[in-house]
Amino acid sequence: MREILKALNIEAGTNGCMVITPDGIMVAAALSPNFEEDSVAAFAASLILLFKRNLASIGVRGELRSCSITASQGKLVFIDMTTSYLVLIADPKSDIDSTAAPVQAAITKIANRRIS
């Protein structure tokens, strides 16, 4: 899976990406050394959980499919892959999102890998 993530970094121009479980455990990662894998996984998962819990409390129907956080020094994208999340880290001005072709291709490869 790490090879798929490494290829995604090259194709999508991201600085790093990882696959995490909903409870924040890192499955595979290809992050640049300035990011701590466990820390990114834990915070990403707790943020997704916070969003889901609060939206459910408000009564918002439907699932959260993706989330994109743009900050002064970077961009973070989470994409729901049903049983896990794909997390991407990119430059703040990057236009990467869940619909980008390399991202969709990577999601398909990860899903196929899981099935096989």
Partner: protein, 355 residues
């Protein structure tokens, strides 16, 4: 053995969810260290079966375990990153797991560094009030009220501050002050269910103790409230004007269902709702602000800097939270939209500072 039991519990719960299957699944998730999932499972069940005593009890256990797991991560972070957000988060988690003494100690330790900070005073008010609910010691109620009054002075329009102050005042028997706070809430959220419910409760208590009809008093309060509203409208600040401009822009799109605007300190500034929209956002201010705060804190923790925007795409909706000048706006739009199209909508034309 545990993974096998967990898989079976998951399959059973998926096939035929019940009170028993939910509790069993969340217990096994806890045992296998999957506290976040255990919490999500039991929280969902609590919403669908609020009357179930077994689920309520188990929810308390799981919530404590989950808070303890998050606390250990937060305390680890605090060793390296001593920003206020981390202290507040640690204190909140300590309060959740019932360690009020430690929460108070943490907050007191940093009080001198952050004078007149509403978030710190609010957190202290929360912890003392939580301890009062357990111990019923009047000194805790007095302390809670003192801190909440300071928080209210610093953030006079913050929903959470106003509501908790009203609640603490009610517990202290200070009904006039409690009503003054609920009135402030209803100036901006006239149909706020929690404020209205608290007012009804106060009315019932005062009617039971005085035996007099209090409808006259309440009607006088409404008149005062209208007068205050007129005054505050006249003194609308720059931030509030910016908030209204942002909401005008957001509601130019027909599918915008709701919008909230806060100052960067979390002071409520304005909101707008499309009539008959689903879901009902009237009571969602606190939850949406919590999401904004979570994004701000976690963006900094992950190491990508200061939050500019957060875009959520759902199956039937889109949410954009965006920092604009000195305010933060959150809009909920029905249907699918791109982040760039919503940002263009909010940021089009003249700069807010020019208005």
């Amino acid at each position: 053995m545990l993974p096998l039991l967990l898989n079976r519990a998951m399959a059973l719960h998926r096939r035929k969810p019940s009170e028993r299957s939910t509790i069993r699944l969340s217990r096994l998730l806890l045992l296998t260290g999957r506290t976040a999932e255990a919490y999500a499972t039991i929280s969902a069940a609590r919403k669908t079966a609020p009357q179930s005593e077994a689920i309520r009890l188990h929810y308390t256990v799981v919530k404590t375990e989950y808070a303890a797991a998050l606390l250990s991560k937060t305390l680890h972070i605090l060793k390296k990153d001593t920003r206020l957000e981390n202290f507040l988060r640690a204190a909140d988690l300590l309060r959740t797991i019932g360690q009020s003494e430690k929460a108070i100690a943490i907050l007191n330790k940093i009080q001198a560094q952050y004078p007149d900070n509403w978030r710190l005073e609010f957190a202290l008010g929360q912890v003392y009030f939580s301890r009062y609910r357990d111990s019923r010691h009047p000194a805790d109620l007095t302390e809670a009220l003192a801190h909440l009054r300071l928080a209210r002075d610093c953030a006079p329009r913050n929903y959470r501050v106003l509501f908790l102050t009203a609640l603490v005042c009610t517990n202290a028997g200070l009904f006039d002050e409690a009503l003054a706070n609920t009135r402030e809430i209803r100036k901006v959220l006239p149909r706020d269910v929690r404020a209205l419910a608290l007012e009804t409760q106060i009315r019932q208590i005062t009617a039971a103790t005085t035996g007099s009809a209090d409808s006259t008093d309440l009607s006088q309060e409404t008149t005062t409230s209208e007068h205050d509203s007129a005054e505050s409208a006249g003194a609308m600040t720059h931030s509030r004007r910016a908030a209204e401009i942002l909401l005008d822009r957001a509601f130019a799109l027909e599918s915008t269902a709701c919008g909230f605007v806060w100052s960067t300190d979390g002071d409520y500034l304005a909101s707008r709702f499309r009539e008959h929209s689903h879901p009902c956002f009237m009571n969602g201010e606190e939850l949406l602000w919590e999401m904004v705060q979570g994004s701000v804190v976690d963006a900094a923790h992950i190491g990508i800097g200061q939050l500019c925007s957060c875009f959520l795409a759902g199956t039937e909706w889109t949410i954009l939270m965006r920092a604009v000048d000195d305010v933060i706006v959150c809009i909920f739009v029905e249907g699918e939209h791109s982040a760039s199209s919503l940002e263009r909508l909010l940021l089009k034309g003249v700069l807010l500072t020019a208005n």
